[in-house]
Symmetry: C2
Subunit: 451 residues, 2 copies
């Protein structure tokens, strides 16, 4: 009865790492989490002060529900019932996310959400979070990590049975796990970056735009999305090229900023009284896709979240797929008593789908750049929604499958492709029927004329 509890070291206490820690603790492991940043719950956190918010959708909600945190999290969120598309000509159009009540997203603050999950994990016996503690080395053969205080100081060795790499897109665990092995790895940077900007609450204390929605300013040379906050403000992400004639590099004077907004997002300029200062002050972030394999080493190391599969943010699925990783890993550990098999099953269950998510996220970049405010897109989206209403459960638009269901991404894409073929077939049938009708009509006229 005094069997030693196995120990897991989780590297990274972001979204993936903190939820994995909670799962693993409940599965009976002793869990240590090392995170190089300070505790998100302390005043120290985020001196940069960027409040990033994200859209929680079905996959993330299901994973949070699985650990009993969903209700708490939803209380802190703002529902988003659809997207409001702002066109350069000033048109503003609301597109509902789904056809049913539950088909909505929820805007959550990243640091607030992590804090909730960390609280829940710390409430479990045998869990310790070490903030300000950076992994400097991993020995993949002994599952031993060397950690050191971020501010400098003596490193320490931590021996584990399993190391979980949840340390993000430039994962040190991944690098050291794969070093010198036959590992596939691809990183691809978008030539565009992003800046966080804030639409403050109005002078009357009320939101300056419809709050319960994701706002989108599409555009070929720059695009912006805004998530709502509980206080009535919205956090925008402005996306544009790093360099070139229309780029962050070119927004180098207040005049350039204002000119850019007047041309591309005319109704947004007025929403941000201190726009030029915000653009000048805030840093530019990078956007990168990472695909890799393997995600694991024997029964000792496994990657989750961005460390295994980073995607562009344009489908809003980064957090949701990271949470889904945690739930699937937990299920695999439950189903396979042999941990090496569990980790293999986890990679096999996830990688085909996160690879598809990377493709979908890149494709949605193009949609947001141009297609969402084109007539064809609107008609196709409306047709999709109409069919979904007429054929409940039998016709599900791709976006709805990704955001409002937990169907694996590749399965969602395959089904959407089938639906597309049906629509195209119907279109072709329509054209043929019209041609036939026209011919028949003409023949009828000729017959009448002949009489």
């Amino acid at each position: 009865m005094t069997e030693r509890r196995e120990r897991v070291v989780v590297v990274g206490a972001g979204l993936a790492g903190s939820l994995a820690a909670l799962h693993l603790a409940r599965r009976g492991y002793e869990v240590r989490v090392h995170e190089r940043r300070p505790d998100p719950r302390s005043a120290l956190a985020g001196p940069g002060g960027r409040s990033i918010n994200l859209g929680l959708s079905a996959r993330g909600m299901r994973a949070l529900d699985g650990v009993g945190l969903l209700d708490d999290v939803l209380k802190q969120s703002v529902p988003m019932r659809g997207r409001v598309v702002h066109s350069p000509d000033g048109t503003v159009r609301f597109q509902p996310y789904g056809v049913r009540e539950h088909e909505i997203l929820h805007s959550v603050l990243r640091e607030e959400l992590i804090s909730r999950v960390v609280d829940a994990a710390e409430a479990e016996p045998g869990v310790r979070f070490h903030f300000g503690s950076r992994m400097v080395h991993l020995d993949r053969e002994t599952a031993t990590v060397r950690v050191a205080p971020t501010g400098g100081g003596e490193p320490a060795m931590v021996r584990a049975d399993l190391v979980v790499g949840a340390d993000g897109v430039f994962s040190a665990v991944r690098q050291q796990m794969q070093h010198g092995l036959r590992a596939d790895y691809a990183q691809e940077f978008l030539p565009w970056g992003y800046k966080e900007l804030t639409i403050p609450v109005g002078d009357d204390g009320r939101p300056r735009v419809r709050l319960e929605a994701l706002h989108v300013w599409p555009g070929h040379e720059g695009l912006m999305v805004a998530h709502p906050n509980r206080d009535g403000s919205l956090t925008c992400s402005l996306f544009m090229a790093h360099e070139g004639p229309v780029s962050f590099a070119a927004l180098d004077t207040p005049t350039a900023v204002v000119d850019f907004f007047r041309r591309h997002f005319p109704d947004a300029e007025d929403l941000m009284p201190d726009l030029a200062r915000q653009v000048a002050d805030h840093p530019v972030g990078h956007l990168v896709t990472v695909r890799t394999a393997p995600w694991r080493h024997a029964d000792r190391v496994v990657l989750i979240g961005d460390a295994a599969h980073a995607v562009y943010p344009f489908y809003g699925q980064g957090m949701n797929s990271a949470f889904e990783d945690c739930a699937v890993l937990d299920r695999c550990l439950a189903e396979h008593p042999d941990r090496a098999s569990a980790l293999a099953a986890f990679e096999a269950a996830r990688k085909p789908h996160t690879d598809v998510l990377a493709d979908l996220s890149a494709a949605n970049f193009e949609d947001l750049r141009g297609r969402v405010h084109r007539l064809g897109y609107t008609i196709a989206a409306a047709a999709d929604r109409t069919l979904a209403r007429l054929l409940p459960g039998r016709w599900v638009p791709l976006y709805a499958m990704v955001a409002h269901t937990t169907a694996p991404y590749a399965d969602a894409l395959a089904r959407a492709d089938r639906q597309d073929r049906i629509l195209r077939g119907a279109g072709a049938g329509l054209v043929l029927a019209a041609a036939l009708a026209a011919t028949t009509l003409r023949a009828g006229r000729r017959r009448s004329a002949g009489r």
Copy 2:
């Protein structure tokens, strides 16, 4: 008149690095080459004793001709006039490489070729090769490298104006040039590896197989190619999966080796009297594709050869494209007095084509695995050769464009695609004509019957 000569440090004295050193010396640079391995001309070189040979084709020949080394090199080579395909059923078929006299390849020994180029480079003023000297650090902002003796010893700093990374597929120059920048990088390992084996000269002192050809043993589960040597021996590369039921891992007993050869390459077993020992003793090499960008940093660092674009060996273009890099880089430096523009022009001129070469090399793996000994492939190849003979210069099979011309790879592929469409169109035309003829015939018969 005492203007300081600009200094280049070339990292790596392989095929790309040694030829680049020669070019750069002739362009007036002071050149230092650091290579971690020993001098290939010394007895120290290759204690592993692997004699790797390669097929020199048009691109490589043109580059060598440009520096006046071609005649020398060809004297040391064995011409390969086509491929001899050995099928598992014992059939042996010769497929000529081209339709014209010059459309042949030349089998050269890698180390011998490098030695010739190093000799030529060292004959230039201001060139020094430092063998056994490893680059340990690159400062991309000052073009300063730290080098250290491979066997251990004091490191030294070398300040340069330009650093050329010719240090192969796992290039340290590339890593340090791109570190922390927005660089795209992808490495992909084939699940197959390779082993070098030797077909010794026969007991009668004569070659055991037709010498002036590349020998190919295609196969779905394992394949082998052999290049001829001047002494009448041939060097084989045996390719198969690293792991699995049919794999290097499974060839773990002499019986397993002999059984494998009897089943897959029945006529090859007799060519290698010490086959089982060779398989047991020789190491397994990895096969990897690398694509990356950028290839350069300002006017100070540039990548060439495998460091910029590693490909699978199945099109026999690794050396040839590395040599082509050197010639193109030299031309760009001649045409652009501003070196940053020259390096940018070099990358723009090469990357689209080496990316295509990576695709072609992966596709040729599939051809070698299965298609070369299928009837359809043979017919298509014969049709291609016939058209090439009938339409000289106007119809060129893809393989011939890649191997026997210096048309950029992407242009070669585009032209081959056009030719394919014409062949498919002709095929479709043939089918329609046949159908029409059959219909006419039947109608004619009906008319006759009706009389």
